[in-house]
Structures are given as structure tokens and as C-alpha cells.
């Protein structure tokens, strides 16, 4: 069937992921050029989810620790950014870093007890974090704005001589790449910055899991005792992973606050934590691309498909998503990436068979 030599086809296959990556990059870069500013803003909200899911995937997929509380960490990142910007007006990207640091510390604090509790029990502890977080925000509503929320604003004098809040916005630079319409350019610019932040995060995590530390993280998941015997500092690695994972959730939260110019207690509920888990599971784990794919799936479902439902079906949306998930888990337990890998393995097997068939021809 195939006339190419085995070596050549292997080389061609090595190029496939790179070409795919380049294609994805081109699509990502082109999207805000073809989409309206409403849709640009909408897909921008998917990026923070992808980054947070990446963090959760590192913890769950690579390290084998469960967290149902990443929605709360996402919230900590969002509020850190909101409060810093309202109080001190730091540059946006500095607040992203600050949120990452705060969440790293929060992650370490949650990660310490996780050394002793595992599996379902750890899930329960993080569940408590997820449930408590909105209540805490509600309790301190003078600072957090409670359920009505807190706008991220700059105060300026308006025409009537009154100090008025103006939502923060990304001032677009004068680039030919960006639209001439100022509002649209701002949306595009914000999207590109978010994309860059996300790309850096994905790259760093990819390098981390391929490093020595990454191998320790994975070894702990596969067999904690064996890892310890092999000289891995299990406690340090687990706490570190929890911290990094939380920091990524914090970056996600920070980006989401910058996008919406607003935070409110109702956003950071258990549902968000579950959605992050859904993104991880749907995307497929352990994998680097999985969380991004999962976040896009979730965003597509929420923002593109759901609004198209007829009015009387809309209240059933969570039910539909639930059923969809059950079906997906039955059909593809490894998520979308798992499905791709399975397909790849099957193709490789078929090719190997045909190769042997050819070589057996006298």
C-alpha cells in the first residue's frame, strides 16, 4: 500500500504535531481579526479557564491529587487582582504575577494537609474550600462587594464634576494588526495579551513535566512508595505541585478579573470548580493540550450552543451537559486527547501490519 520507507514516514509523522501546532497558532491569531468584538470578548473568557484547567491537570493528571477547590483559588487570584488594581493601580501584568504568588502560597497551605489525606478525602477537603469561599466573600462584603460584586475601576472626574468610576480597559497600542475602531482594538489587544500569557504558562508546564522534577511528579502518581524508594522527596514534590497548580489557577482568575473588569462572589462557586474538572476530563489527561481543548469545549457549549436552545429547554442546560459528559466518558474515557491517541495507536498498528506484510513479500 504505502511506498515510503519506514524511516521516512516516521519523520513525516514527527512533523504532524508541529504542523498542527502552527495551524492552531494561526487560527488563534486570526480569530480576533475575523470575529466581532463581542465574539472576541467571548472567546477571551475561555483563556483564563484554559490556564486554570492546565493547573488542575498538572495536579490531578500528572500528580494524581484531586482538587475540587480550584474554583476558589481562581477566585483568590481574581480578588487579588481586583483589590490591587482598585487600591494601588499597578500595571495589569504585574497584578497577574502578584495573583500567581498569592495563590502559590494559598496552594502550599492547602497542599500541606494533602500530604496526609488522599483520594476521596482530599476531594472532600477541597470541596469544603470551594463551598466556603463564596460565603467568606459574602461575610466581608464591605471589601469584596459580596454578590453584587466589585467593579475594577479608575476614578475620574466626570462632566458634572462628580467622581465617577470608569472600568479599567486595555489601551491598545498603535499597531496595524489592530482594528481602527478603538473599542474593538482594545478587545483584540486584550485577547492577544491573554493568549501570550497562556502560551507562556503552557510552555512552562510542558517543560516542567518533561524535566526531572516532572518525572518525580509523575512517579508519585504512579506509585508513591516506589517513588520514595527511588529517592524522590515526595512531600516536597507534592506541596510544590499543589503550589504551582494553584498559581496557575490564580493566573486564570486574575485574567478573568481583567477581562470582566469585575469580580463577584457568585462567580467562584463549586460550579466553577466542577467546570474546571470538566475541562480537564473532557480535554483528556495527562496531557498539555487537553485543558485547552477542554476549556474551548466548555466555552463553546456555554457561549455558542446554549444561547441557541429554545427558551423552555434552557433551564435544563446543566442536565444536558451532565448527560453529554456521561456519554463522553463512556465513549472516550481518556477525553478528546485520549481519543486522538487511541486513533493514532490504531493507525500505527495498521501501518506496522502493512509494513510487515510488505517486507514479507518475497
Amino acid at each position: 500500500m504505502t511506498s515510503s520507507s519506514p524511516a521516512k514516514s516516521l519523520g513525516a509523522r514527527r512533523w504532524v504535531p508541529l504542523i498542527a501546532l502552527a495551524a492552531v497558532a494561526v487560527v488563534c491569531l486570526a480569530l480576533p481579526q475575523v470575529l466581532s468584538s463581542y465574539w472576541t470578548d467571548t472567546i477571551t473568557t475561555w483563556i483564563p479557564l484554559a490556564v486554570a484547567a492546565l493547573g488542575l491537570n498538572l495536579l490531578t493528571g500528572y500528580n494524581g491529587q484531586i482538587s475540587v477547590g480550584h474554583g476558589a483559588l481562581f477566585g483568590v487570584g481574581a480578588y487579588t487582582t481586583a483589590l490591587i488594581l482598585n487600591e494601588w493601580h499597578w500595571p495589569f501584568l504585574v497584578t497577574v504575577v502578584a495573583s500567581a504568588v498569592v495563590c502559590f502560597v494559598a496552594g502550599v497551605v492547602i497542599g500541606l494537609p494533602a500530604l496526609r489525606i488522599k483520594g476521596l478525602y482530599l476531594a472532600l477537603v477541597t470541596l469544603a474550600v470551594a463551598t466556603l469561599f463564596p460565603q467568606i466573600l459574602e461575610q466581608f462584603s464591605d471589601t469584596t462587594g459580596g454578590s453584587a460584586g466589585l467593579g475594577i475601576t479608575n476614578r475620574e472626574l466626570n462632566r458634572r464634576g462628580v467622581m465617577t468610576d470608569r472600568s479599567i480597559r486595555f489601551e491598545p497600542p498603535d499597531l496595524a494588526l489592530l482594528s481602527a475602531d478603538d473599542a474593538k482594538a482594545s478587545s483584540q489587544w486584550r485577547y492577544y495579551i491573554f493568549l501570550l500569557v497562556a502560551a507562556i504558562c503552557f510552555l512552562l508546564v510542558r517543560n516542567l513535566v518533561n524535566s526531572r522534577a516532572g518525572r518525580s511528579i509523575i512517579a508519585i502518581r504512579d506509585n508513591e512508595t516506589a517513588a520514595e524508594v527511588s529517592g524522590v522527596n515526595v512531600a516536597a514534590a507534592k506541596v510544590f505541585t499543589f503550589g504551582i497548580s494553584a498559581a496557575l489557577a490564580g493566573i486564570g482568575g486574575s485574567l478573568s478579573a481583567l477581562e470582566l473588569a469585575r469580580v463577584s462572589s457568585g462567580t467562584f462557586t463549586l460550579v466553577l470548580s466542577l467546570n474546571l474538572l470538566v475541562a480537564v476530563v473532557v480535554g483528556g489527561t495527562p496531557s498539555i493540550a487537553g485543558p485547552a481543548i477542554g476549556a474551548v469545549f466548555l466555552g463553546f457549549f456555554t457561549n455558542v450552543i446554549t444561547p441557541e436552545f429554545p427558551e423552555d429547554v434552557k433551564p435544563l442546560t446543566p442536565l444536558i451537559l451532565g448527560v453529554l459528559l456521561v456519554v463522553l466518558m463512556l465513549a472516550a474515557p481518556g477525553g478528546i486527547v485520549g481519543m486522538y491517541r487511541q486513533l493514532q495507536a490504531r493507525l500505527a498498528a495498521r501501518r506496522a501490519i502493512s509494513q510487515t506484510a510488505i517486507s514479507q513479500v518475497p
Binding site: 468584538s37 463581542y38 470578548d41 490531578t60 493528571g61 494524581g64 491529587q65 484531586i66 475540587v68 482598585n86 483520594g119 476521596l120 476531594a123 460565603q135 459574602e138 462584603s141 464591605d142 462587594g145 459580596g146 454578590s147 453584587a148 460584586g149 467593579g151 475601576t153 466626570n158 462632566r159 458634572r160 464634576g161 462628580v162 467622581m163 465617577t164 468610576d165 472600568s167 478603538d182 473599542a183 502518581r221 504512579d222 473588569a261 469585575r262 463577584s264 462572589s265 457568585g266 462567580t267 460550579v271 466542577l274 474538572l277 470538566v278 476530563v281 489527561t285 444561547p307 427558551e311 434552557k314 433551564p315 446543566p318 442536565l319 451532565g322 459528559l325 456521561v326 466518558m329 474515557p333
Partner: protein, 458 residues
């Protein structure tokens, strides 16, 4: 393969939880009006403005100066004006969806009559686009953004919930999109100098409390008040006004209890506590179903003079009091569609006929909730009739310079006056009413608090 096990557990847990949340979505958002925006420090600012822009001559909103990106006639296509509203269609507060049914009925009635002839001489049909936020202020911004940017509405009308409106006020202000006839009376809507694109459709809760306190001063100058207030912006507005109004009088608050709709299901224990305070006045500053529940919870040997929030004075809520509504007080600005004497009024008759034709059920017509939505529709349409040109800023300027308007189901003697930031409240004529044999009866004349609503804020 061990790695897969926790993940699978998580996946199942996530799927289960999503299924559960589909069955009972009353989680985290069940407050009537809660929270506060980050605007507390600006309360005083709105009074300072004064008539700096020269009274009637200068327009209140000047889009060229107020807006970075003004799209004045967006949402008007041909002879159709597209308006939007956000309401809880699902969730624990879906009872408020009936407000939107009333608004929708008004829109249908207007279109059936051939449309509304605006101040520019043209006749427009209305199109209402609804969105559901399940009363969750965290969901409101995305829905409003979709209505404004994707559906391309001209204005929001009758949007429900204090927190929900607070969550989008900044956005609407930034984008210069009007939100007219807000279905909430939070004193926040009096900050027109900062947020000129928001205009309320109910009286200020502060004015409401003040009207009752004035009455109380004449009836019971040494009253001892037991106060039950909702632990959010809505309830605290009552609390603050009452405290301000009793300064320098012999009236005292002998006990006060807060009710948190997020964490508590029934105000029963709070009412029992208040009943032991020896108070002879019971002020019920809570909304939704807990309001009639508080009446039910009154022990039979405690018979204070009881006042309930205007938001729960409709027939639907009163029916839930199971007979404990006799003799209680409230305030009103409109005819009560559930009171026999008011039902003879031509405005109420028109509401009944046209509302029924537009699909409202008998219980909705008399329940009082749909009537509120009808009023928000009427306010918007009255604005259209008056505005010399149909664009966002001119319409708002028209609503900010009303001169004796009477619309919807407003009491016949009521006359709405507004004047920019000096007098941003449309509905300021109130009378105190008393519940007698299943009907509301006025115990005071209609009192005009025109231009004073912001002064009553505690």
C-alpha cells in the same frame, strides 16, 4: 492505570453534581437585593452638583462629552425598537418572572394597538428580548452584554434585582446604554450624576420608609420599633432611613434583627425574638416569600402595628400570610389591582382587558407582580412619546426632565417630576395604606416627596 482512578471518580462526581444542580438551582444567589458596589465613598458627591449646568437649558447628558463610544440609535431598525430585559426565569426567585410577563403584556398591547407614536412623529413597534440570569448577579453581566452587543438592543427596561443591576451599572454607564424603569428601589439609583444611564421604576426604599415614619410620628409619637431587615442593600436602606428619621424624636428601636436570605430559610426565630422585645411597632423590611412568612410567624399575643415592604404588598404575597395580613400597613404609589375599590379605575380596567388579551392569567392580573412590569413598560413608552428625537441620550434627558407625568397604574393624583441629578427619582408620590378585609385602603392623603428622595437616605 491507578492514575485514572481518582480522575474517573472526579468525573463521575462532576457529572453527578451537574445533574443535581439542574434539579435545584437555588444555591448561592438567593438575596433580594444584597451587596454594595464600590461606590460608598461617593454618596455625598451627588448632592454637591447642584444646577451647575443651568437648569433646563442645558441637557443633562451630552453624549459627545459623556461617552467615548456613543451609538445613539442602535437597536432601532426601520419602525421597530428592540428592548431587552433580564429576569430570573429559573431558580428560587422565579416568582419575579411574572414582572417580566407584565412588561411583555404591555409591549404586546402597544403593538396590538398599532405601536407607539414617539415625539418625533413616527410610529414604532416594540420588540422585547428576554434573558435569564436566575437572579444570580454573577450571571447578569454576560447576559446584559449579550443583549447589548449581540442582540443590539436600544435600551434595557424593567431589569430585576438590586444586586443584578449593580453588577451591570458600570458597564451600561461605560457604554452609554439606558436602563429604564429598574425593578428595584435601592437608593443607589439616585446617583444620577455618576450613573445617568440608570433610572428607577419604583419609589426609593428610603422614601418609602420615610413616608411610613412620618405617619408613625403622628400616630405613635413614642413608638417602640422592632425592626426586621434583610441583610443586604435592600434591607439596610430601610434600616438607615428609620434610624435617621427617629433622631430627635421619642421613637426608639427596641430590637433589630437581620435576615440573610442567602443562609436562612425562614425568619421565624427572628420574629419570635422580636416579639419578646415589648415593641408596639413591627417593621418588616424583607422581601420575597420570607416577608409573608414573617407575618405568619407573629405569635398571637403580640399585636404590634405592623409595616411591610412595598415590594411584598401584592395580593400574591398577601395570600401567603394566611390571614395574618389584616390591619398591617404599607405604602403605595399605584392602584392595587387586587383591591376591589381600585379595580373600577379605568387604568386598572385597561390593564385587565389588554393584559388578558396579551395572555396574562386571572391570578397574574390581580396578583400585583405583573402590574409592576406593566408599569415599567408604560414608563418607557411614555418616555418615547415625549422625547423629541428617538435616541438614547435624548430619551434619557426627557426622562430626567418630566413635568407632571402620570402613566401606567399610577394613582390619579400622582405627578412625576424629574430634574437631572437634582431630582432623579420618577416615582415620589406615596400614601400610607392599611390592609382591611383583604383590600388596601389609604390612611393618608397622597404625599409628594418630589425632589427629596435622595435626602431620606440614611
Amino acid at each position: 492505570m491507578t492514575a485514572q482512578r481518582p480522575l474517573r471518580l472526579a468525573a463521575v462526581a462532576a457529572a453527578l453534581a451537574l445533574l443535581l444542580s439542574a434539579c435545584g438551582r437555588d444555591d448561592d444567589n438567593a438575596d433580594d437585593t444584597g451587596g454594595s458596589d464600590n461606590t460608598t465613598e461617593t454618596t455625598a458627591a451627588s448632592d454637591e452638583d447642584g444646577g451647575g449646568d443651568g437648569g433646563d437649558a442645558a441637557a443633562f447628558i451630552v453624549p459627545e462629552e459623556d461617552c467615548a463610544n456613543y451609538e445613539g440609535t442602535k437597536g432601532i431598525e426601520g419602525d421597530t425598537i428592540k428592548i431587552g430585559t433580564v429576569r430570573p426565569e429559573s431558580g428560587a426567585y422565579s416568582i419575579y418572572d411574572t414582572i417580566t410577563k407584565g412588561l411583555e403584556a404591555y409591549v404586546t398591547a402597544v403593538n396590538t394597538d398599532g405601536g407607539v407614536t414617539a415625539g418625533d412623529g413616527k410610529t414604532y413597534k416594540l420588540e422585547l428580548v428576554k434573558a435569564d440570569d436566575a437572579y444570580d448577579p454573577a450571571k447578569t453581566p454576560a447576559e446584559v452584554r449579550r443583549l447589548v452587543e449581540q442582540e443590539g438592543i436600544f435600551a434595557m427596561v424593567g431589569e430585576i434585582g438590586t444586586s443584578n443591576n449593580l453588577a451591570v451599572r458600570q458597564y451600561m454607564n461605560d457604554n452609554c446604554v439606558p436602563s429604564i424603569g429598574l425593578a428595584t428601589g435601592s437608593p443607589e439609583w439616585g446617583k444620577a450624576a455618576e450613573y445617568p444611564w440608570f433610572i428607577g421604576g419604583l419609589p426609593s426604599y428610603a422614601t418609602e420608609a420615610h413616608a411610613f415614619m412620618e405617619y408613625l410620628k403622628t400616630e405613635k409619637p413614642a413608638a417602640k420599633i422592632a425592626l426586621l431587615y434583610q441583610d443586604d442593600d435592600f434591607g439596610k436602606a430601610y434600616q438607615a432611613t428609620i434610624k435617621k428619621d427617629i433622631e430627635g424624636t421619642d421613637i426608639t428601636i427596641v430590637d433589630e434583627q437581620s435576615f440573610n436570605p442567602l443562609t436562612e430559610t425562614s425568619p421565624e426565630s427572628k420574629v419570635a425574638q422580636l416579639a419578646t422585645s415589648g415593641a408596639d411597632v413591627f417593621f418588616v423590611g424583607i422581601g420575597g416569600a420570607p416577608c409573608p412568612a414573617a407575618l405568619r410567624a407573629q405569635p398571637s399575643d403580640w399585636t404590634p402595628m405592623t409595616y411591610i415592604s412595598i415590594t411584598c404588598s401584592g395580593k400574591t404575597a398577601m395570600a401567603l400570610a394566611q390571614g395574618r395580613d389584616e390591619g398591617i400597613y404599607s405604602t403605595q404609589a399605584t392602584y392595587d389591582v387586587g383591591t376591589a375599590a381600585d379595580q373600577a379605575n379605568p387604568k386598572v380596567q385597561e390593564f385587565f382587558t389588554k393584559g388578558a388579551a396579551a395572555g396574562l392569567q386571572e391570578a397574574e392580573l390581580q396578583g400585583g407582580i405583573a402590574a409592576a412590569g406593566w408599569g415599567f413598560g408604560a414608563l418607557f413608552v411614555r418616555g418615547l412619546e415625549l422625547t423629541p428625537t428617538v435616541d438614547r441620550a435624548t430619551l434619557m434627558n426627557t426622562l430626567y426632565s418630566l413635568d407632571g407625568e402620570n402613566f401606567g397604574l399610577a394613582l390619579d393624583d400622582a405627578a412625576a417630576h424629574t430634574n437631572g441629578a437634582d431630582d432623579p427619582w420618577i416615582i415620589e408620590d406615596l400614601r400610607v395604606i392599611k390592609r382591611t378585609a383583604g383590600s388596601w385602603e389609604g390612611v393618608t392623603e397622597l404625599i409628594s416627596y418630589d425632589g427629596k428622595s435622595n435626602d431620606f437616605v440614611g
